[in-house]
């Protein structure tokens, strides 16, 4: 019997279609051949990107926009939103519009073209998380922006257009609908119970142990109760914190530790699986929110969105999160073939 499940924050329903149940090995990941040729993100080609806004790893005194970097952040050469100009909010009858103002940046995660994010040394991955933090702090100073969206597309099927490891930041003059819904959902819960719903979720998941994938002292990875796709995972700080950018280097090192393990577990279940990860954090220039809890959502690209999903807003997921969590917990030890719930 399929099961309808409701996300406790968003109120979003999903269908766990148990009769379509699959093992990790049943998911076929089409290998996208590398295009090869010139890469604009590789060291030595710095002149093909706009001038960097941040770089780590270059020796002291070395000029900007030259090789020697470990992580480099550049504005998008052909951005979806542009940095110059005023918002110029307008109404056209009942419709609202404004200029497409924003900051669209690319985080080049490694100088090595063939590096894979999940397999970077932890100290290197921590620098990428520091880069996210630093850019959020900087973009926060621009009063036109309300939110910084941080995301990564890994694999062509998940939207990555270039194989050189990178993630993106987009500073927006509006709050994304998803964040508004999360803020509303968490506030509603807080008004009722005077507790953060994510803190309660973490407490319950640690107690129940069925959807926990892995954890360290500071962070936990779990499959959510109502996931949109098989192997969807959330990474949350165990201590309440609404703003990602409030974490120090030590905490980000711990985040790198859990992130690396999480992605390696996913890759061991389904080698090469494309995925997106998205940071959900508090809006810019807000005080620490008692009801909101920042987290990363990792969504593997294993199912497609078709008419039913578009029409209903429901997702059909052929794998229960409890089963996915079990596979993920066993994956590093057993690999993709042998893992069985």
């Amino acid at each position: 019997m399929p099961e309808l499940r409701k996300d406790p924050v968003l109120g979003r329903w999903i269908i766990i279609a148990q009769e379509r149940a699959k093992r990790p090995t049943d998911f076929v990941v089409a290998e996208a051949p590398s295009m090869g040729g010139f890469c604009p993100l590789c060291p030595g080609n710095e002149n093909t990107t706009p001038p960097e806004v941040l770089a780590y790893g270059r020796s002291y005194g070395a000029p900007a926009n030259t090789p020697g970097w470990l992580v480099r952040v550049v504005p998008n050469k052909y951005p979806a939103l542009v940095i110059e100009g005023n918002l110029d909010r307008q109404a056209e009858g009942l419709y609202d519009k404004m200029n497409g103002i924003g900051a669209h940046e690319v985080v080049i995660e490694s100088p090595r073209h063939e590096d894979i994010f999940a397999r970077l040394p932890l100290s290197h991955m921590a620098v990428i998380f520091q880069a996210f933090r630093s850019r959020i702090h900087d973009l926060e100073r621009d009063p036109r922006f309300l939110y910084v969206l941080v995301f990564k597309n890994y694999g062509r099927a998940a939207g990555a257009s270039l194989e050189h490891s990178h993630s993106q930041l987009v500073a927006l003059p509006i709050l994304p609908r998803m964040i508004v819904s999360e803020l509303q959902g968490t506030l509603e819960y807080y008004k009722y119970k005077e507790r953060c719903i994510y803190c309660d979720i973490i407490r319950q998941e640690i107690q129940q142990k069925v959807r926990v994938v892995c954890q360290n002292d500071l962070f936990i990875t779990m499959t959510p109760f109502a996931p949109r796709t098989p192997f969807e995972m959330w990474i949350l700080p165990k201590q309440h914190e609404s703003g990602y950018h409030n974490h120090n280097d030590e905490q980000l090192a711990s985040l790198a530790d859990i992130f690396s393990e999480t992605l390696r577990r996913l890759d061991a279940c389904i080698p090469g699986v494309p995925y997106n990860f998205v940071l959900h954090t508090q809006p810019l220039r807000t005080e620490n929110m008692k009801h909101f809890h920042w987290h990363f959502e990792i969504v593997p690209k294993l199912t497609s969105i078709a008419g039913f999903e578009w029409g209903s807003g429901f997702y059909i997921n052929p794998m229960a999160p409890e089963e996915a969590a079990l596979y993920l917990r066993e994956s590093l030890e057993k690999g993709p073939q042998e893992a069985r719930p």
Binding site: M35, F38, C39, L41, Y78, A80, S161, L162
Partner: protein, 116 residues
């Protein structure tokens, strides 16, 4: 005379662009596929390339990355009807990204910027 390699699978575009750029004093060499473009890129040694993206066989992005491997400093202008290719980071290898328009103003400006 400065030489432009014009890569586009549409004959109408080829005829229009050839006429316009010849009138501006450039020599124009045509290629209708990515494969043909790479051959002519090596044999004709152009000063600038105008490159369509959606073509049968090799697409313009693949051609761009191959050409930039051979001659990274040679200006290449992506000229396409599809703005969404700006979201493809491989397009960063190009020197300009121009959405095709009937008046060709931006394209002509870009060519002048590199060839004078």
């Amino acid at each position: 005379m400065r030489k432009i390699l014009l890569v586009d699978d549409e004959e109408g575009i080829q005829l229009l662009y050839q006429e316009e750029f010849q009138d501006e004093g450039y020599e124009v060499i045509s290629a209708f596929t990515g494969e043909e473009a790479l051959e002519k890129f090596k044999s004709e040694v152009p000063d600038l390339v105008i490159l369509d993206i959606q073509m049968p066989g090799m697409n313009g992005i693949e051609v761009l990355r191959q050409m930039k491997m051979i001659a990274p400093q040679l200006p290449i202008i992506l000229s396409t009807a599809y703005h969404e290719y700006t979201q493809d980071l491989s397009a960063w290898a190009s020197d300009e990204f121009i959405v095709k328009s009937p008046d060709m103003l931006k394209l002509k400006e870009a060519v002048r910027k590199y060839l004078g």
